[in-house]
């Protein structure tokens, strides 16, 4: 056995520290870029002059140019302004629907874990019921019953999009309910409501936030789909679904910009939400303390 081995305090042969790249910074950067893009879309929708939506028959069917970024349609309306206005409307509708949906999911998910087996059975049955009907079909039905328009769309989205998130929240809440510290909390005399507020909500908030953001693109797409088939927003409103639906008729006559550019803009907005959602998830997940 070598003698020298223990007299090693003086010799510090530290291997060059290789730490992994800072994924948090990267995630944050991507997130901010996507958010900035979205903000730009929203601002554009707000700030553009609605006069450009007026009919100008001398400027009909122009392909994209610097003056009209997305070209003009058969009535000479500027497509860029129409698309931006339409996106803004879609985002508002989607936001309202997604928030309502996430709230339903949170309440039902937590209640499922909190109020015992009987409550859970009912809520699970309800979730399965809603999950078994395709989103779009249910949405069309609800929108139809409500007589179309913004209200119908928002209610429709709220009522159809919660089950998947509710399931997730329920599973998480169940786990929390069984956690030792929640059990201890009960024996310390804390009420179920207090436990839901102090122990569960803080744990579920990241899940809910991410769920909400990821619901968003879904809601927008479905809103556009329902409007596209004519059950959603009224035709005089510049909704993306309406723009797309109208442009279909002109596609065969070579006016590609009427469909492609609004479609791309919708895709960009949806994708931006998607990116924000998944990177928020990453950031929040890494906040869970890494144990040694």
């Amino acid at each position: 056995m070598t003698r020298v081995m223990f007299d090693s305090v003086a010799r510090l042969q530290t291997r060059s520290a290789v730490y992994p790249i800072d994924y948090k910074r990267r995630s944050l950067l991507i997130l901010l870029t996507a958010a900035a893009l979205l903000m730009m879309l929203i601002m554009a929708g707000w700030l553009t002059n609605p006069d450009a939506l007026s009919v100008q028959l001398d400027q009909r069917n122009l392909p994209p140019s610097f003056q009209h970024l997305f070209g003009t349609d058969w009535l000479g309306r500027d497509m860029f302004v129409r698309v931006m206005k339409g996106l803004l409307l879609s985002i508002q509708t989607g936001l309202a629907g997604a928030v309502c949906s996430a709230m339903i999911a949170a309440v039902l998910g937590i209640a499922s874990a909190l109020f015992g087996r009987q409550a859970d059975r009912i809520i699970t049955w309800l979730t399965d019921l809603f999950l078994s009907v395709p989103h779009l079909v249910a949405l069309i039905l609800v929108a139809f019953v409500c007589g179309g328009g913004m209200k119908g769309i928002v209610i429709g989205i709220a009522l159809t999009h919660w089950p998947a998130l509710a399931r997730l929240i329920r599973a998480e809440a169940m786990q929390l309910m069984a956690a030792q510290y929640v059990q201890v909390s009960r024996r310390l005399g804390r009420s179920l409501f207090w436990i839901a507020r102090r122990h569960m909500l803080p744990h579920l908030l990241p899940q809910l936030t991410v769920g909400l953001i990821l619901l968003f693109p879904h809601a927008i797409l479905h809103e556009a789909a329902v409007t596209f088939i004519g059950l959603g927003l009224p035709p005089h409103q510049p909704a993306i679904g309406i723009i797309l639906s109208e442009s279909m008729r002109y596609l065969s006559s070579g006016m590609w910009w009427l469909a492609v550019l609004p479609g791309a803009a919708l895709l960009a907005a949806v994708r931006a939400f998607d990116v924000i959602g998944s990177h928020t998830k990453r950031l929040l997940d890494s906040q869970q303390y890494e144990r040694l």
Binding site: A179, Q180, Y181, Q183, V184, S185, R187, L188, G189, R190, S191, H199, P202, H203, Q288, Y289, E290, R291
Partner: protein
């Protein structure tokens, strides 16, 4: 007012084997009782039934002759677990954790060796021994009459174990708490218990 378990029976599955069968146990206030037995023999289950974490299939738990109601309010029989890191909310500071059941007073915390600086930290920043001290402080509210220590120091080193038990025994005597010590360590039980019950 003794804590009594009368005819306690428990099994996991409806038709599974009995883990506990008509088990009797009595702990009086001011007494330190050891509960010894091999792993898997139902020590922890018995402790959980007494502390209201599990409902026995048969039998009753009584305190001063009256059945203990597990449903609501501060439970007079508290329990401290083997793994303190599972018994605290990982997102809470130790201050909120200790004060979840009662306003833990300075002397109690000092006696348990809880450092003021720990109170603003979260569990991941404390060692197992430090967390366990906090869990004990949390369980020692004024309404606590009995404390069940389930392998409370099994995961800790000997020095920390000795420190915690010395403080625990002093506090128990002062408040005339009844202690039920569940452990596999015969030497520890011999050292601290007035009586050892086989499982």
């Amino acid at each position: 007012m003794p804590l009594e378990g009368k005819g306690l029976s428990y099994r996991y599955a409806q038709d599974g084997p009995w883990l506990l069968r008509r088990r009797e146990i009595t702990v009086r206030r001011g007494e330190v009782v050891g509960l010894q037995g091999p792993s898997g023999c139902g020590k922890t289950t018995l402790g959980r039934i007494l502390a209201g974490y599990l409902q026995p299939h048969e039998g009753t738990v009584t305190l001063a002759g009256k059945a203990v109601r597990a449903a609501r309010g501060y439970h007079p029989i508290q329990m401290v677990f083997q793994h303190p890191e599972q018994a605290v909310n990982p997102k809470w500071t130790m201050r909120s954790t200790i004060q979840e059941g009662w306003q833990a007073d300075q002397p109690t915390m000092h006696r348990l060796g809880i450092n003021e600086a720990w109170l603003d930290r979260v569990p991941a920043e404390l060692s197992g021994g430090e967390l366990q001290r906090c869990c004990i402080a949390r369980a020692l509210g004024p309404e606590t009459a009995y404390l069940i220590a389930d392998e409370m120091t099994a995961m800790l080193d000997a020095v920390t174990q000795a420190q915690i038990w010395h403080a625990m025994l002093e506090l128990a005597q002062e408040r005339s708490l009844g202690l039920l010590v569940i452990s596999h360590d015969e030497n520890l039980l011999k050292r601290i218990c007035s009586r050892i019950e086989p499982m």
